[in-house]
């Protein structure tokens, strides 16, 4: 026999539901071949169990298993990553599904799927995924349950099953408060050993180098980048430059970070002035170390530090939504410089106010001759660097430059082609060509990238910064002022800064083309409203649940108990257990005494007390004869009380009108 009859105790259909839910929830990062393997396997199991009522033929099973294992080995080789581990688990569950014959197999399969639910949270932590996983866990538990009650369910046609499902749902409901208490109180400890965290998925987001077209691809995505909550009012929109990276190395095609920024400054002793702006950011996972911050901010939470260039960096790669807190003082806010349009002086007494030779680096080749000549001409025409910078900015404003997502291909002489031929580009083009020109003119400068602006959610009270807010701008260094931020894009498309990408690109058909939702959202108020509410929900979720870590737990417990101390925790535990014990006792008494009159209840309560003294009423013994037995014993006082309760009982029970 190479295939056997089905064990009717195994609910194959439910198992298929579980595997489909699991495959769907992991579909984002599973390789395409594994998805098709999942589809084939579940289809085969469906056909053989539902139509032919037999398990899968042994030879077929071995063939399928071996070939999928070979595929797995070929695809992943020996590289260990979280993706690989998760794919391995999915494959294991699928292989188990193929060979399910006995109850034991089902149990192994169910356990694998339960663990897969946990694994899926490493990748996706939205509410929707939680709901998906809860339904999968519920189905898994129901499968275990079905196996136990199989005979009853099939003997007593139906009614029992619905009753039992109700019992199970009630069980899950009762489990919820326990879950919440454990979740709140279970001590959060640091990771016990290091785990590979980084996933190989390519998520939308800023990358560590900038080549033409990078940001324009981001502009098409409406995925959230991070959400910010300010302690006081939100700064002006044109000050919302969320800097993440400084690119100071240009190889002729793309800008990237030079290695110099590795040294971390020791943490500045933080003295919080009362007028300081405090703001907290919850960033979406981007698998990188960099954090985004307004100019002049310093870290307030322990998971971020400031590096030698003044940028904020995380301790470890961000693989899940993470909260960090920053602050800046009003004196450190960038100051507007009147002589140069869009220019802000960055923090006059900033310790990072130096420039290095890296900020003048240029590729040593003779590309872009036209630009070089143009800059030479500008330098000879200008009295000082301020004038030169103004001239460059004026050029962007006055010439026929377009702000566009489809700038067209640029060849070797990138800057030349952009400045003098296409004149169509995105913020990356403007910023990089301006820095190129400034460096040619001998002014230390660099490209800063990050996000600009954000949508304020009035009801939620937070600022949502999306991927399409990605931006690149320029920083240059001049004597007496130090580093200055200037935004050439603002010269070309002032709307981009004042109103966001939406207004700057309102007429561009390419904008958000592959996101139907956003383009529809700009048209229909209701959908936009829904989108905002859903985003609020997500923000609250990330804020309260996903980011409930050590610090938040400490804060929560302190808000509950005041100062954090061991004695208080111990006392709380004692109090809680005494409380639960009392509830338990009352529940038992309630169960025992329900349905009796008051006098009976009092009498029975007294009987319970008597049991402590070793006097027990026999079954069938009348209250009277019990009383005489108590009176015969040596406890005189007890006998008196017993007599009182007995009389009370007899009076209420045997007197006609109560």
């Amino acid at each position: 026999m190479h295939s056997s009859k089905l064990n009717s105790q195994i609910p194959y259909r439910l198992l298929l539901v579980v595997i489909i839910l699991q495959t769907l929830s992991h579909a984002n990062y599973l390789p395409a071949w594994l998805l098709s393997v999942a589809a084939i396997f579940s289809f085969l199991v469906f056909v053989s169990t539902q139509w032919y009522k037999r398990t899968i033929h042994n030879y077929l099973r071995i063939l399928l298993s071996l070939s999928s294992i070979v595929l797995f080995l070929l695809y992943f080789r020996a590289k260990f990553s979280v993706d690989m581990a998760a794919s391995f688990l999915v494959l294991a569950a699928l292989l188990k599904l193929l060979e399910i014959k006995m109850i034991k197999d089902v149990q192994v399969f169910v356990f694998t799927c339960l663990y897969l639910s946990a694994v899926s949270f490493l990748f996706e932590q939205g509410i929707l995924n939680l709901l998906l996983q809860l339904s999968s866990i519920g189905t898994c538990l129901y499968v275990l349950f079905y196996i136990q009650c199989y005979e009853e369910i099939n003997n007593r046609n139906g009614s029992l099953e619905t009753n039992q499902i109700k019992t199970l749902l009630r069980l899950f409901l009762i489990a919820l408060p326990f879950t919440i208490v454990f979740f709140l109180l279970f001590p959060r400890i640091a990771p016990i050993w290091h785990m590979p965290l980084k996933q190989q998925t390519t998520k939308v987001g800023i990358s560590s180098d900038l080549s033409p077209g990078d940001i324009s691809s981001l502009a098409k995505s409406s995925d959230p980048a991070f959400r910010v909550r300010f302690s006081s009012e939100v700064p002006e929109r044109e000050n919302l430059y969320w800097k993440g990276l400084i690119l100071d190395y240009f190889d002729g095609r793309k800008w990237s970070e030079s290695i110099s920024a590795n040294g971390f400054k020791s943490k500045k002793s933080i003295s919080i002035a009362s007028q300081d702006y405090i703001y907290e950011i919850i960033i979406e996972p981007h698998q990188q170390l960099w954090a985004f911050a307004l100019e002049g901010s310093y870290p307030r939470s322990s998971n971020v530090i400031q590096n030698s260039k003044g940028l904020i960096r995380f301790n470890k790669e961000i693989v899940q939504p993470t909260k960090y807190e920053l602050a800046f003082s009003n004196e450190n806010l960038p100051k507007k410089i009147d002589v140069i349009p869009t220019a802000y002086a960055l923090n006059l007494d900033n310790p990072y106010q130096i420039f290095t030779r890296q900020d003048l680096q240029l590729p040593t080749n003779n590309l872009n001759p036209q630009t070089k000549q143009f800059v030479r001409k500008l330098v000879s025409e200008s009295k000082d660097s301020v004038m030169l910078i103004n001239k460059i900015l004026m050029m962007f404003a006055q010439e026929q430059f377009y702000y566009s997502l489809e700038p067209g291909e640029l060849n070797d002489n990138m800057v030349d082609e952009f400045l003098f031929q296409t004149q169509k580009g995105f913020c990356g083009h403007y910023a990089s060509s301006m820095v190129y020109m400034l460096r040619l003119a001998g002014i230390p400068s660099r490209v800063a990238i990050g996000y600009q602006g954000g949508d304020f959610n009035q009801q939620g009270g937070y600022l949502l910064v999306s991927q399409f807010d990605a931006h690149a701008w320029v920083e240059f260094f001049i004597k007496d002022i130090g580093w200055v931020r200037v935004d050439p894009t603002a010269m070309v498309a002032p709307n981009r800064i004042l109103g966001g990408s939406f207004s700057a690109l309102a007429n561009d058909p390419d904008f958000s083309q592959n996101n139907v939702f956003t383009s529809a959202a700009s048209k229909f108020g209701a959908i936009n409203w829904l989108r905002l509410r859903f985003d609020e929900l997500n923000y609250g979720w990330q804020n309260l649940v996903i980011n409930y870590h050590q610090e938040q737990q400490k804060k929560f417990l302190e808000s509950l108990l005041g100062e954090f101390s061991l004695i208080k925790i111990a006392m709380m535990f004692v109090f809680l257990s005494v409380f639960l014990f009392c509830v338990f006792i009352f529940w038992i008494l309630f169960k025992r005494f329900s349905g009796y009159t008051l006098a009976e209840k009092k009498y029975m309560l007294w009987l319970l007390c008597l049991e402590f003294f070793g006097i027990k009423r026999m079954s069938g013994e009348t209250p009277r004869s019990f009383l005489s037995r108590v009176q015969a014993s040596k406890h005189i006082y007890l006998a008196k009380v017993t007599a009182f309760y007995t009389r009370q009982l007899e009076e209420t029970e045997y007197r006609g009108n109560k």
Binding site: L122, Q148, T167, A175, L176, F183, I189
Partner: protein, 309 residues
């Protein structure tokens, strides 16, 4: 004997008093995780490690959820069993070497526990829904080695409701008695030795049937010659009154062998006579049962044989 929850509970249960009626309560229900439950706990531990190492709140959340479900299922498992009343029913009888039935009745107001298994020991527990009859009576079979009065050594009840992670079991000491009759053996079987054991059909050696008459209403069914009916469609009966003119005495002294052998032969003879409806008397040392016939008489004789010492 190694120490396990089952053994400890058995040892505790053996010390309790036997009674006709036993209600399951917190005093006689034992609860412990099954191997599956322990592997579930191991999986939860791995999940918790994952949550700690990845600092992932949602994994914490579902770990605690599954943990709470596990703990609550202990309670559900207990509630499933509690309140069940086990009553010992009228005793069964069997010949030595045959399975001896013990009947017990299971009852509870709100239906029987789900997934209940019943057995003599924990190893042979069978699903109750298979062995229960209309009156909620279950029959458990034992194979006692010696004749005489037998009490059900132990009764075992278990359920893994709701998820198979927790096992609730009980050893209710229900008083159920059954009698084991001696093994019926023909005299010549002793001569040839004790090799072929049980005789399954207890039938009479062939009689010389001279006196056959037609069936009349009122004739005992035992006297119908069924073979004749099968061969030539005639319903005829034996006029057995002639066979035993004088009631036969089955006498202890007429048989040879040791005590058990004699009892076995007597048992065989009792069965033989009662099968043909003949009247007989039984003489054992110190016991004399006057000749009679009928089911009740046979039962008294067999009971005496079973309990004779």
């Amino acid at each position: 004997m190694f120490i396990s929850p089952k053994n400890i509970s058995k040892w505790l249960a053996d010390k309790s008093i036997r009674s006709k009626n036993i209600q399951l309560s917190q005093k006689n229900i034992y609860i412990f995780p099954t191997p599956l439950g322990f592997s579930f706990l191991c999986m939860l531990a791995v999940m918790l490690l994952t949550a700690i190492n990845y600092q992932n709140s949602l994994i914490y959340l579902i770990t605690f959820f599954l943990g709470s479900v596990f703990v609550l299922s202990i309670w559900l498992c207990f509630l499933n069993m509690v309140g069940l009343v086990v009553t010992g029913e009228s005793s069964g009888r069997a010949f030595q070497g045959k399975p001896l039935p013990f009947n017990c009745k299971l009852s509870r107001i709100n239906g029987l526990p789900i997934g209940l298994k019943l057995g003599e020991t924990s190893k042979v527990a069978l699903s109750v829904s298979h062995i229960i009859d209309q009156d909620d009576t279950c029959t458990i079979q034992c194979q006692p080695k010696v004749r005489g009065r037998h009490e059900l050594p132990s009764l075992y009840l278990e359920s893994r409701y709701p998820f198979g992670l927790i096992l609730a079991w009980s050893w209710p000491k229900v008083a159920i008695e059954s009698l084991v009759y001696p093994m019926p053996l023909r005299a010549d079987q002793f001569v040839s030795g004790f090799n072929d054991g049980v005789t399954n059909d207890i039938s009479l050696p062939s009689f010389d049937y001279n006196d056959i008459r037609e069936f009349q209403t009122g004739d005992s069914l035992n006297r119908i010659l069924w073979k004749k009916l099968a061969s030539n469609d005639q319903l005829v009966v034996r006029e057995s009154d002639n066979i035993v003119v004088n009631p036969e005495w089955l006498d202890w002294d007429n048989y040879e062998g040791d005590l058990e052998n004699r009892l076995s032969q007597l048992c065989y003879e009792v069965c033989r006579f009662s099968n043909v409806g003949a009247s007989f008397g039984l003489r054992l040392p110190g016991i004399e049962i006057m000749p009679a016939s009928g089911k009740e008489h046979t039962r008294v004789c067999l009971d005496n044989l079973a309990l004779f010492s």
